[in-house]
Symmetry: C2
Subunit: 155 residues, 2 copies
């Protein structure tokens, strides 16, 4: 599971600040805080989880501001939005790592990642065959994660 290093989070945060400046958007305390939480986590956070982490840090940022900051982060290309069909979105830092896809546990909701070059290539070829101009794709495998399989045995 690729978790972002503290160094990488710092790099991303720097890029975000530069992005804001380049686009004449003020760099504010709230934007910094939200971005930092997403970059440091490296996981797939919901807005609720982001707000909880901020609260745990003793910071208060309004929900609307979190949503608005995430919008900017997505536009900047530093964060990616996901909809895993759970009724809300999840946000993920776009580190320098390669493209990856997701494994979603239907029991516990945990989201893991995997990367597979052959798969990526195959999708490009399939799109070509259909004369479809490929931009991006989404591959999600739903099932039971290792931990939840273990629980089946225990019980």
């Amino acid at each position: 599971m690729p978790r972002l290093e503290k160094d990488e989070a710092a790099v991303l945060l720097d890029r975000f600040r530069r992005y804001l400046k380049d686009h004449h958007h003020p760099v504010t305390r709230q934007r910094d805080l939200v971005a930092e939480v997403v970059f440091l986590s490296g996981g797939h956070l919901s807005v609720e989880e982001i707000q909880r982490r901020l609260t745990d840090q003793g910071e208060t940022v309004g929900l609307a501001t979190i949503y608005r900051t995430l919008e900017v982060l997505v536009k900047s290309g530093l964060v990616r939005a996901h909809d895993f069909g759970q009724g809300f979105r999840r946000y993920e830092a776009m580190s320098t790592q390669a493209d990856h896809e997701h494994l979603i546990c239907v029991r516990c909701g945990r989201v893991d990642e995997f990367a597979n070059e052959r798969l990526e290539r195959m999708l490009g070829i399939i799109a070509d065959e259909q004369q479809f101009q490929h931009q991006r794709h989404r591959v999600e495998i739903y099932g039971v994660c290792r931990d939840c399989q273990r629980k089946d045995f225990t019980q």
Copy 2:
């Protein structure tokens, strides 16, 4: 693009009626109407589109009833629900055809299908490698469809 034949729609409707009877759920006019629209279309309909088609037929079915009927249809296994990240769900008849994946046009929202056995096999293997118990998956390719590419040229 596999569109369902009228005959196949009739078969599916029959199965749905039997499913209702087997589960001691009344077969009502509204359930019949909603199921028929989905089975005959063969596409990927939103609830709004389903209601519009019913209205066009001169039938009035309440929104809540459409949602409740779709829930039963999904439980019966005759219809599949999709979330293509457009802010609402789409529903598709599960014909006898093989598993397939989707191509979603980011311009016009059109949804096309493709089937690829090698891809299906590869996903099973990837899940195994990750010790993940594969149940189902979702592969979506986002980009520009043939028609919208053509429009680029014209303009």
